[in-house]
Amino acid sequence: MIDLDDLDRAILRALSLDGSLSAGELGRRLGLSQPGAWRRVRRLEEAGVLAGRRVDVDRAALGFGVTVFLGVKLATKGRVSLEDFERAVMAIPEVQVVQHVLGLFDYRLRVVARDIADFERVLRRRIMTLPGVGQVEANVLLTEERRMGPIG
């Protein structure tokens, strides 16, 4: 596991707020040279700590007005392998996130749709027909926020 010093943590904080910062800009803010900042960012990327970028997008403006989280329970865990379910669910373009979980459900899915009618179509035609799918619970996403976490 990678050890972080205060500068590494400051870099993670800065990039959590603005992932488009260049090494030069990061360096200026933190009192590092451009190559020095670049080397640290590179090290965090190589260690897998910096796992890429995400971008805020106005999904409604792009015609995707509804985001729904589904809790899915498999009906036939013994017979149908988890791999079959995962392979099939991965192929659905409206499914953004697939998480294997332990608890009330077996999987959590994040699904985008144009509207509630479109969501119903995805649910009936794509989700309910997945191999092994059992009970499904849907919750419509209203707001979401990402927090800085323990480096904040």
Binding site: M1, I2, L4, L12, L15, S16, L17, D18, G19, S20, A47, G48, V49, L50, A51, G52, R53, R54, V55, D56, V57, D58, R59, A61, L62, F64, F69, G71, E86, V89, M90, P93, V95, Q96, V97, V98, Q99, H100, V101, L102, G103, L104, F105, R108, V112, E137, A138, N139, V140, L141, L142, T143, E144, E145, R146, R147, G149, P150, I151, G152
Partner: protein
Amino acid sequence: MQFDDADRRILRHYLADPGLARAELAERAGVTQATLWRRLERLTEGGVVGRMQAVIDWRKLGYAVEVSLRFTLDKTNPRAFDEFIAAAREVPEVVGIETFLGRVDVRLNVIARDMAQYQEVYRRRILALPHIAEVEALMLIATIKDGEGLPL
């Protein structure tokens, strides 16, 4: 705001991998770099594309436990949502807050170094949050897919 096929191609590739170098993104979307620049600027000014953030892989920093906590709040108190969320923001181990329409009111994404620390956070910080009526936990086993691409 209106979108044409070039906008949709750019957004499809950009949202699938926002960390992509601009030259590579232009090539995948089949536009020139000058066009890409102009289109992204227009989408940003129109508020469709917002800020970019770094994605931190907490497991790589030694946070081996990730739990999705689903809350039902006591809605007889009109301030329940606001007060619960304000208090949840004060817990450093909370890395995500989502609100829903459905059986679940709020979901918190909580990370911890191990089960002992999780138990500590859960007992001392989470159960101390105001207006909790019910709480359920889903423990993350594996993230199979995690993206924010849209089927444009």
